[in-house]
Symmetry: C2
Subunit: 256 residues, 2 copies
């Protein structure tokens, strides 16, 4: 049996105290000590994996870049495979992930959670690149609707993706959770089958729904993004609920 954990990075970074109290970093150590494989699947698109990992390490997590599956590197694989040269509408801090990709004379648009880069001018520019193509190709690093930051709720990449989809009459190819291919690439990197893995996450649709569609079992933690109404979700039902990551790890280790 192998374990795949999938905490939401924004929630994780914004709720440092909660995670530490819940013993997240101790749970990670426990999992590694048990010999189980671990992978962090994140939709983080506001930082490179390097910086994401540094932040988590600063919080006491034992984690390395090689253990992180994130949308930008997944998108880079697609770009290389299909000889696509992207026009980037992403966060400044994410740009280094695309360092090795040819961006001259773009033939697609890659959109991430660009935050302050979602200006009127930048959105019009991305739109013009798309509408100028015979068959516009739009790759979106996630389809999140919104998220919470210390200064309030913010529109996520999914909202801007919908704006461009509508304007250009195209459908975006979504990289990142809950895309099946995203979970599959994480499993491939670990070298395990879906039946051998368990996903632990707080998002009923993006984490639990995505993992289950891929054939994995999925636990929902009652922390972070979790809301009591998730337990009545019309389409998605986790294999089990746990109060926090520590409880999930205890449960799994007991069954070994």
């Amino acid at each position: 049996m192998f374990i795949l954990t999938s905490p939401d990075p924004k929630q994780l970074l914004n709720s440092f105290v909660e995670v530490v109290i819940a013993g997240g970093h101790k749970s990670v150590k426990q999992i590694k000590a048990s010999g189980l494989k671990l992978r962090f699947c994140t939709n983080e698109t506001q930082a490179t994996r390097e910086n994401f990992v540094k932040k988590l390490q600063g919080m006491g997590f034992d984690i390395s870049v090689a253990e992180v599956t994130a949308p930008a590197p997944a998108a880079c694989c697609i770009l290389k495979e299909r000889s696509l040269r992207p026009h980037l509408l992403v966060h400044n801090d994410l740009v280094p992930e695309f360092a090795e990709i040819d961006k001259a004379n773009p033939n697609c648009v890659v959109i991430g959670d660009a935050a302050e880069n979602f200006t009127y001018a930048n959105l019009n520019e991305a739109f013009r690149v798309l509408i100028g193509m015979e068959k516009p190709v739009l790759i979106s690093l996630g389809r999140g609707r919104y998220y919470k930051e210390t200064d309030g709720l913010k529109l996520d990449v999914g909202a801007y993706m919908k704006a461009l989809e509508y304007a250009c009459d195209v459908q975006a190819e979504v990289v990142g959770k809950p895309a099946k291919t995203f979970f599959e690439s994480a499993l491939a990197e670990m070298g395990v089958s879906p039946q051998q893995a368990i996903m632990i996450g707080d998002d009923i649709v993006n984490d639990v729904g995505g993992a289950q569609r891929c054939g994995m079992r999925a636990l929902q933690v009652r922390t972070g993004k979790y809301r009591p109404c998730d337990e009545n979700h019309p389409h998605v039902k986790p294999d089990a609920y746990v109060n926090n990551l520590a409880e999930a790890v205890d449960m799994i280790l007991q069954q070994l």
Copy 2:
């Protein structure tokens, strides 16, 4: 018989020379001289009717504010009827149209083509107002995808409407062309039935489709937004094509 013309204002203002060559202002005089009623139905949401009319008058058009049907005043009627207090995400120049509307403690969002006001901060603010409501109410002054300005293509209000719709899981109420209620209000203001009116416009979907759904006959002019592929449109077929407004008016006056 009465005539309802519906030139696209952005196209009109951007293609001054074309319109003047096509004799638009002479055609308007001809119609008025014949005793027919005339109404300009526009989706203009970057200026008050007063300023819109001033621009057209400056181009030689004989037109008054009372002859213009536009989304903002139509939205104001809805706001008053339903005691809605809007948070406005509109162009600065449109704000005076809402001068008499109570905007304290907003219980809906009105979105127009805000252009430079479509900033990251303003979009997040409109989103927060919506998501804070038990049942979000979003009123959109049009559903255009994009338009052309001298410095290139720009995303129109419809794209930003879609972003907010997706983020809040709501459907916007669209005021303006091609909404049936918009054409109906123009007819009501003229005091005529749809069968007594003819629409002349350049946009196959917003002008021709909207007018026909309302029961009017509709002529498409082969100027402005018109594209040859419009003549193979899968759903909308105008009652006739004309090369320009002057030809439409000649045709109508001959049949009187």
